[in-house]
């Protein structure tokens, strides 16, 4: 990697609802001025805390959908035979929810009755916040190609960093290990995994660390609500040790996190609770870890 490229910090979790956005919002406040990015395009929440002022909002089309001209269609059924997504029903109507946008039907149709048309899959947005510029997105309800939108947002964040001379991009990732998460991993320097001490959290942590291994990305861990189940917290610590992941901190369970959210503020700005102090300490360690990655 070019040494002048901005560093990328990605916050992920495997399991949803472990506190990614809570932590990213606090990091945004602590970092003061770095580039921010919300790549959880399925359910983007970071803007609810950071209150961005939208500068540009571009339509994003990442895929296509088959559209049929009923005047040309002879109900021959060849399209239905070839479609592998069951997107053409027995009356030869196209179900746009099942349509993958591959274009096989268009190719095989002897009457040229089918055309592939681009669909609006979402919006790619550039904003300013009081904590720095932000690249984020919105997926249109029920649309596909969230991975492509993530890639677009990341490129936008990279461009903002380049234009403004920033050295770090802080990225809020999505849950899971599939397409949008894999898209968010590209060129990441450090992944911070936010997990929780539940058996589900532990199982999902194993899968997400497997994913980081697969793409050879360095991961660190934060255990959120660690005091909810100390036994599982211990197991997560063991797993971190075995997998060579550094544990950067353990955040206690505290209703102040929800209170801060009700007030639409990051925890570190809302209070000086033990939660806020632990996040501050984690942020310092993250900065040090980022310096160490080349």
């Amino acid at each position: 990697m070019n040494s002048e490229d901005p560093k990328q910090l990605l916050v992920i979790s495997g399991k949803g609802g472990t506190g990614k956005t809570t932590i990213v919002a606090s990091f945004a406040a602590l970092a003061d001025g770095e580039v921010l990015s919300d790549c959880d395009v399925d359910a983007a929440d970071l803007h609810l805390i950071l209150h961005p002022e939208v500068k540009t909002r571009e339509e994003f089309s990442g895929g296509k959908v088959a559209v049929k001209d009923d005047n040309l269609c002879t109900d021959c059924g060849i399209c239905r035979e070839h479609c592998r997504y069951d997107a053409i029903d027995e009356n030869f109507e196209i179900d746009s929810f099942s349509c993958e946008g591959c274009g096989v039907c268009e190719y095989v149709c002897p009457e040229d009755a089918i055309t592939m048309e681009p669909v609006l899959s979402g919006y790619s947005i550039e904003s300013s916040t009081e904590y720095g510029n932000m690249a984020h997105g919105e997926l249109v309800a029920g649309e596909e190609t969230s991975g492509k939108l993530v890639t677009d947002i990341k490129q936008k964040a990279g461009k903002i960093a380049e234009d403004t001379g920033k050295e770090l991009i802080i990225i809020d990732g999505s849950p899971g290990i599939g397409c949008p998460v894999i898209a968010s991993l590209s060129n990441v320097d450090l992944a911070l995994i936010v997990t929780e001490p539940t058996l589900s959290g532990l199982s999902d942590l194993r899968r997400v660390t497997g994913l980081l291994d697969h793409f050879e990305i360095q991961g660190n861990i934060v255990i959120n609500k660690y005091d909810l189940n100390l036994e599982v917290t211990g197991k997560i610590e063991e797993l971190a040790e075995e997998d060579g992941l550094t544990l950067l901190g353990k955040i206690p369970y505290d209703s102040v996190v929800t209170e801060a959210m009700v007030h639409e503020k990051s925890v570190v700005e809302y209070s000086s609770s033990p939660v806020a102090r632990e996040i501050e300490s984690i942020w310092k360690k993250v900065k040090r870890a980022l310096k160490d990655v080349s």
Partner: protein, 290 residues
Amino acid sequence: MQITISAGKGGTGKTTVATNLALALAGEYDVQFFDCDVEEPDSEIFLRPELDNEEPVNLKVPEVNDETCTYCGQCGDACEFNAIATFGENTLVYPELCHGCGLCSLVCPVDAITEVDNKIGKLRSGRAGNLEYHDGNLTIGEPMATPIISRLKKKIDPDGVSILDSPPGTACPVIESLHGSDFALLVTEPTLFGLHDLKLSVDVVKELEIPLGVVINRDGIGDDRVERYCDSEGIPILMRIPDDRDIAVYYSKGVPFIEKMDGWKERFLELFEEIEGQAEYQKRQKLIET
């Protein structure tokens, strides 16, 4: 009756609701359980099934015969997913981008492309007491969850009750899980994030024209904005699960809380009756409207 438990936001309690509901119904009906969160399947932790079947999920990906390929590049031009491309005298396939549609082999003028199986995950099944259990599992590093969910859903018996635990979000894997359901049960929490993501889920479910209802989990935290939203939209709130440390601890240990806390099995049975009523009522309302 196919009920899909979904949520825009992760960690709101989909698996908690899905597993407890399935267990409550298991003795009373023929119940199939499907874990459609194939990226992070966790319901096994709560249902502890005895698995007796495992099968691979393969996607067809192209394999290019270098002897016959003329490097014309038509396959790459046709592919909507950039999964195949010709550079000079080399045609390369990127299996992780391939959606398995077969268009490249159709367009190849010299029949240089054959399709081979690429394993992207697996399906497993077994029994958990009175429940028939099914899950899907995406191989780590593979991006495409949707084909696994679609294969998993082929096991649904339309005559019984099937409970589907959906992945979080609003993108393709969620649509695939919801598609064809008789009812969408959306689990949320009474917070700013919960409400925002609930609205996204409601948009998707309405787009799919599926009857819906809401479960508020961790009731008591946050504020009343979810409730006000549901009231104004006429969305029924079918259950409230209180913010209770015992429930959170049972969850952390992988224990379904209806097995430990009195009265909840009955409440989940009532939830099912309400779902049946709402599914029927909302379907009828839609017919009247159109």
